[in-house]
């Protein structure tokens, strides 16, 4: 606790020297100044975000479900925000649409919406949280991504599932989240077919992830051990894992 002082009586010079020694012990605080150096700042914050993602990934519990809500708690459909990075409607031609599946899967190829709809449907009222801070409760329906991964014979020991979208958006998920029972390939909102501005014909709906991870207008899905690219917003500086 108390530092050793040579004796109980010190002259002014000795007291200054004792004080100086104690002050110098605080120099480690100056290390934080590295964050103020423009050259180091970007790298340090990237490390910080990486550390944060690592912690978040460890906190994620596979069996833990996000809260579900009563019908009475739903945000009315017309008050469910439409968020895009670019355009509301990338003009998908539904008749020609299929999901291109590739990577570490046994049955790569094109999958029509009908095939996805043949999987058991899950409907859930869950909270949708935007990174900006707002949140709404919506009713979503679709096939469990885990069921679809089984259908395509995915290697679930792979680390990632990546998607690409008709508006050139792209995203990647950790396998644990992809296999989570509430992670949906969503084609229905409020028990109606998904509308174009909400991501028709197929989007991700993941109550355990923040909004920007839940990509819309899916065109491609890949199971992979290595990420070529992480995600549209992640490349601008957002967190990769951003689990709820």
């Amino acid at each position: 606790m108390s530092p050793k002082v040579p004796k109980q009586q010190l002259d002014a010079r000795q007291f200054r020297s004792v004080s100086r020694r104690e002050l110098l012990k605080l120099t480690p605080v100056l290390a934080l100044g590295a964050f103020a150096i423009p050259k180091l700042q970007k790298g340090l914050l990237k490390k910080g975000l990486g550390f944060n993602d690592g912690a978040a990934e460890r906190l994620f519990r596979r069996g833990h479900l996000a809260q579900t809500f009563d019908q009475s708690e739903l945000t009315p459909f017309e008050k469910f925000p439409i968020n895009d990075y670019d355009i509301d409607d990338p003009g998908v031609i539904f008749e020609n649409w299929s999901l291109t599946v590739g990577g570490a899967v046994a049955k790569a190829g094109e999958y029509k919406l009908e095939q996805i709809k043949q999987l058991p449907i899950t409907r859930q009222n869950t909270r949708h949280v935007c990174i900006e801070g707002w949140d709404v409760i919506g009713r979503f329906g679709g096939a469990r991504l885990s069921d679809f991964l089984a259908l395509i014979g995915a290697d679930t020991t792979a680390r990632f599932v990546t998607v690409e979208c008709a508006d050139d958006y792209y995203e990647s998920l950790d396998m644990a989240t992809a296999l989570h029972p509430q992670t949906l390939l969503c084609y229905e909102m409020y028990e109606q077919p998904l509308t174009r501005e909400h991501g028709a014909p197929l989007r991700l709906q993941i109550p355990t992830k923040v909004g920007y991870k839940q990509a819309k207008y899916l065109t491609d899905l890949k199971v992979t051990h290595v990420l070529d690219r992480v995600g549209y917003w992640e490349d601008q500086g957002y967190s990769w894992f951003y689990g709820m």
């Binding site: 109980q8 012990k25 605080l26 605080v29 914050l45 910080g48 925000p81 909270r127």
Partner: protein
């Protein structure tokens, strides 16, 4: 526990060659152990970053109501925010929250294990001393005699600050991971309310910081220096 030393000035030799005892010019008390000072200053930086970046995050949706229609609560000026944009601010916030929590934990652990908490923790024994101090600070009452490093009102303020720090962390955890910390979120009314609490706790902390700075200025230089060197010259007790 705190060491006391006397600062002395040697006296000139007396005529008969005998050394006169040195005269005591000041007293100094070791008031702030190293870990406390280290945590104080690292946490000061972390708190500054957390509030600055937090306000930039708030700018992305400056409301606690619905998104549609959106009613903004206040437009915080960008000049008093850190990070430049939402993503940048989140990088600062999510990095410095670990530093903020680490210094808070280290401080509390140190206070408990060293017993140093006795000098600062507000307990029921401090209650009778509160009103005389309030009279002194706010109603020009007589200054109660100082017997220890902190008066009851100071203890109350510092104890409250630690509680606010704790609340800032638990409300923040719910905003950060509302699904994983759903049990904590339940206590706060869910994600939506946790965000309101988190914001409210920030203002309470800012209020403490304001009062703290006013008192540091009023109490003078030696008091400030003691948080740097540990040693407080001319303590008033």
């Amino acid at each position: 526990m705190s060491a006391v030393i006397e600062i002395v000035q040697p006296n000139a030799s007396a005529a008969d060659g005998e050394q006169a005892p040195p005269s005591v010019v000041a007293r100094a008390v070791y008031e702030h152990p190293f870990i406390v000072r280290l945590c104080h200053w690292v946490n000061t930086v972390a708190l500054f970053v957390m509030i600055g970046s937090g306000l930039q995050i708030f700018r992305a949706f400056p409301s606690f109501g619905a998104k549609i229609p959106q009613k903004d609560l206040l437009h915080w000026p960008k000049a008093f925010a850190i990070g430049g944009w939402l993503g940048g601010a989140l990088q600062w916030h999510l990095t410095f929250m670990w530093i903020y929590m680490a210094t808070g934990l280290l401080y509390v652990a140190y206070q408990i294990f060293s017993g140093n908490y006795r000098q600062v923790l507000f307990t029921h024994r401090d209650l009778p001393g509160v009103w005389p101090m309030v009279k002194h600070y706010f109603f020009f009452g007589e200054k109660p005699p100082a017997r220890e490093a902190y008066n009851p009102l100071q203890k109350q303020a510092y104890t409250t600050a630690i509680i606010l720090g704790f609340l800032s962390v638990v409300t923040g955890l719910v905003v950060w991971k509302p699904v994983q910390f759903s049990w904590l979120g339940w206590l706060m009314g869910g994600f939506h309310y946790a965000r309101i609490w988190h914001f409210a706790v920030m203002w309470a902390i800012l209020l403490f910081v304001f009062g703290h700075l006013v008192m540091v200025i009023l109490h003078g230089w030696n008091n400030f220096v003691s948080m740097l060197t540990g040693w407080k010259k001319d303590p008033e007790y």
